[in-house]
């Protein structure tokens, strides 16, 4: 049998592009879980609201890049407010409380979007429409730009966590909340800040991804489900692991859709999830615990 190299290369590019967007959604989710032990079920709705903010700002100003930046800032503020109002009072309670609280917030946000923007999907015009030839395809440059921008945002987050003063606060709080507080780190505000960062990253991926799929009130569901799979496979709370898992799963799905239809290819990620939970429940991309 001939190996269809052209298709494999095309699917590799596709897998990397969606992997990077997924990594952007998942890294916010895993960061929030890591520091607060909160599984944020409203993360997909922050992604969706980001996309809608993009639609609104783009319609008013005509600038995609301004829309991207404003959507990130507005949703980050919204995320901060959401954390202060719903999660901060629940910190340290049984995880079920925060799951129900964030799930409630997700329903509110989804129905708000439905009420405000209606059921018809909106379109975000991509900021550049150029294409290049990839074998028999005309491949849009915009997809490459998304992947690079997502990588840049994740890279920025990494540098911030590694070298920034507040980055060190975040890592210290993630490791030992009580001792961080005893060292004078204002832990409640670190939590709020991390939630805002996660929300902003979800919004960024919403705006970037908007041009590919159309924006509607339920668009967050698919992505957040996949992002949850990525977070579990990558090791809960492990940022590097989530990024690798996002790329790994997206590549697997892309390759699988060479042989089966894309909607069936989604099964692959569920299989990876189940196998991970069965055989390596701490996550695929974490060092073996000593």
């Amino acid at each position: 049998m001939d190996i269809p190299w052209d298709i494999i290369i095309i699917q590799t590019v596709n897998g990397l592009v969606s992997g990077m967007i997924l990594a952007l959604v998942a890294s916010g989710l895993t960061l929030i879980f890591g520091i607060m032990d909160v599984v944020n079920f409203a993360h997909g709705e922050l992604f969706m609201l980001g996309a809608y903010m993009g639609v609104v700002v783009l319609a008013t100003t005509g600038s995609f890049w301004l829309a991207l930046i404003l959507a990130i800032l507005i949703v980050a503020l919204l995320g901060a407010a959401m954390q202060v109002v719903t999660l901060r009072p629940l910190l340290g309670r049984d995880p079920l409380n925060t799951i129900l609280a964030t799930f409630g917030v997700s329903l509110v946000l989804q129905n708000y979007a439905l009420w405000q923007f209606g059921p018809v999907a909106r379109k975000i015009q991509e900021p550049l429409s150029g294409q290049f030839s990839l074998f028999y395809l005309q491949y849009p440059w915009y997809r490459i730009v998304i992947a690079l921008l997502s990588a840049a945002i994740i890279g920025g987050l990494y540098l911030f966590l590694k070298y920034g003063r507040y980055g060190i606060w975040i890592r210290a709080t993630t490791q030992d909340r009580v001792m961080a507080q005893a060292m004078g780190i204002p832990v409640p505000w670190v939590h709020t800040g991390v939630f805002a960062i996660g929300a902003g990253m979800a919004a960024a991926s919403g705006v970037l991804f908007g041009p590919l799929v159309g924006v509607n009130h339920a668009m967050g569901l698919d992505w957040v489900l996949k992002a949850f799979i990525v977070v579990v496979v990558g090791g809960m709370g492990n940022l590097g692991g989530s990024i690798l898992a996002a790329i790994f799963i997206s590549l697997l799905e892309a390759y699988a859709s060479i042989w089966v239809s894309p909607s069936q290819a989604i099964i692959v990620s569920s299989v990876v999830l189940i196998l991970t939970l069965l055989f390596r429940p701490t996550g695929l991309f974490v060092p073996t615990p000593k």
Partner: protein, 238 residues
């Protein structure tokens, strides 16, 4: 003279168990005070309560004459209370330098001052200087203890709550801990010291409190006690 820390009749519960049953004590500015007692009498809980990590259900805590009960611990740390817990609680995945920066990166600390504080810590603990880029979790127990003390020093505290600093350490490390307590004392930092090592406590402290069943039962000047004193036998059962 106004004491630096005053603890008045605090009661602390873990769930239903009554751990502190009316603890009262005082630490003066620059004073080293030992807190002795058998295991489980509430010494560590007393320190945690002062640090704001555990909330007392009754009683009050004053710092420099102002009530601080119920204040979150990050504010207490900024006021000048350093905490070195029994299990050291190093940030294991952070490097030695980053561990120190958790206390150093505060508002209102000039670069010059930061450098001074780091230099001081590295002079007392040259091992930490050698290992500054190493993850905290890879240090030996003694080195972790030094890091925990150095980290608290980054806050320029007026008092350090020191919980069993010599537990599980080699004799050479123990004498190093004793030296650092003396150095801090000379610099005017007050220390509330919880220790099982009675000779070290008596040598380092000016005053000693004895705890039993969640309360302070007795206090004495350290210079008036010896290791074989009947009081020591009574409260520690050595």
């Amino acid at each position: 003279m106004q004491p630096l820390v005053t603890v008045e009749d605090i009661h602390t519960f873990y769930g239903k168990s009554h751990i502190l049953n009316g603890v009262s004590l005082q630490v003066g500015a620059g004073e080293v005070v030992g807190l002795l007692g058998r295991n489980g009498v509430g010494k560590s809980t007393t320190l945690k309560t002062i640090m704001g990590l555990v909330n007392p259900s009754q009683g009050r805590i004053m710092f420099e004459g102002k009530p601080v009960s119920g204040m979150p611990s990050h504010k207490l740390a900024r006021l000048g209370i350093g905490y070195v817990p029994e299990d050291r609680r190093i940030f294991k995945l952070l490097t030695v330098m980053e561990n120190l920066r958790t206390g150093l990166d505060r508002d209102g600390v000039a670069e010059e001052k930061k450098k001074q504080l780091l230099d001081k810590a590295f002079t007392y603990f040259p091992r930490l200087s050698e290992r500054r880029a190493q993850a905290g979790g890879t240090l030996s127990g003694g080195e972790q203890q030094m890091l925990a003390i150095a980290r608290a020093m980054m806050l320029e505290p007026k008092i350090i709550l020191l919980d069993e600093p010599t537990e599980g350490l080699m004799p050479r490390m123990v004498s190093q801990i004793r030296e650092i307590i003396d150095v801090l004392h000379k610099e005017g930092v007050a220390i509330l010291l919880v220790e099982q090592n009675v000779p070290l406590t008596l040598e380092s402290s000016q005053r000693v409190y004895f705890m039993e069943k969640g309360a302070v039962r007795h206090q004495a000047a350290a210079s008036q006690l010896t290791v074989n004193d009947p009081v020591i036998h009574q409260y520690l059962g050595v």
